[in-house]
């Protein structure tokens, strides 16, 4: 029974009715994510354009620590699983478990960000600053933008956690968790692209 979420579409005049037949908030998030594809597409393309053009200083590819970044990628991937488990829990009305999964997701996201801060710090110590060369600038801009997205996601997750603790996140408002979840999963799929295109492809 818990495997199936029954959804009743509201009728005209009822609360929640929309002309498209889908939630405006959810549709808004999907439109936003569609536009984000263009933002990250631009940043990834810029990196691809400049990655081989460094005239001085080390290139990002000379400094990558693939085992370390692989663990970070795994952590972010697993945070997507905990996020969807949080949604599943609130849809069942299991608020305690929802809070546990939301906190776990935020913790995994914070672990990823900590890894990124460590990576940036070690790169700067190795002599690759933001303005050392164009390859470094495009690398920091791309991964930095992604990091900012993850950080915003953590803020949203902690807000949901606090709302749940205060009893302001009832089962009927599970769509809020779903919308934040969509953002979180998008951040994860963007990292899937970055990990392959930036780190693994020489």
């Amino acid at each position: 029974m818990s495997d199936v979420a029954i959804h009743h579409d509201p009728k005209p005049g009822e609360h929640g009715w929309t002309q498209t037949g889908v939630s405006n908030e959810k549709l808004g998030m999907w439109v936003f994510l569609g536009s984000e594809c263009l933002l990250f597409g631009g940043l990834i393309s810029t990196y691809m354009l400049y990655k081989g053009t460094a005239l001085k200083g080390p290139k990002p590819h000379d400094l990558y620590d693939i085992p370390f970044t692989s663990v970070s990628s795994f952590v972010l991937l697993m945070s997507s699983m905990t996020m969807v488990l949080a949604l599943s829990a609130i849809q069942r009305g299991d608020h305690q478990r929802c809070r546990v999964w939301l906190a776990t997701t935020a913790l995994l996201g914070a672990t990823f960000i900590s890894g990124q801060v460590y990576e940036f710090t070690s790169f700067v110590k190795e002599g690759m600053g933001y303005t050392t060369n164009t390859a470094a600038s495009s690398f920091y801009t791309l991964t930095g933008f992604h990091g900012v997205h993850v950080s915003l996601g953590i803020v949203m997750l902690m807000s949901l956690f606090m709302m749940s603790v205060r009893g302001r996140l009832p089962q009927e408002k599970s769509e809020v968790v779903e919308i934040v979840g969509l953002y979180w999963h998008f951040v994860d799929v963007v990292w899937i692209l970055i990990f392959t295109v930036v780190y693994l492809i020489p």
Binding site: T20, C37, M48, H185, F195
Partner: protein, 117 residues
């Protein structure tokens, strides 16, 4: 009259919900999907350590790109529920992806990025 309405509503609601029921994966299925994703990530990382791929760049690309697309599709389809949700969401998201891909492929091609690599 009131009794008729009370009887009619649940029947209508059940028929309505049967039409619009969205079967999402169970928690154990989500964990299984995550295991598959972790396995593919492991395979991706493995290519970094295998010398064969260092000498054969086109084969490396043909190995990594499909794995990346599969991972992307799995997360979008199951974790983001695109497989189960309204088709409108899928269209909006795919439009963004296709538009970005076309625009930036043209840009990269103009700057001869693919020729260099």
């Amino acid at each position: 009259m009131a009794t008729e309405t009370e009887h009619a509503e649940p029947t209508e609601a059940v028929a309505h919900s049967a039409d619009h029921a969205h079967a999402h994966p169970s928690d154990s299925q989500y964990v299984l999907i995550a295991v598959v994703l972790a396995f593919i990530t492991g395979a991706e990382v493995l290519t970094y350590y295998v010398d064969f791929f260092k000498d054969h760049f086109p084969i490396l690309l043909l190995t990594l790109i499909p794995m990346m697309i599969i991972k992307f599709a799995i997360v979008a389809a199951f974790f983001m529920h695109l497989r189960f949700d309204n088709k409108l969401f899928r269209r909006v998201f795919i439009t963004g992806i296709v538009l970005a891909t076309i625009v930036y492929m043209i840009v990269l091609n103009i700057f001869h990025v693919f020729k260099h690599s």
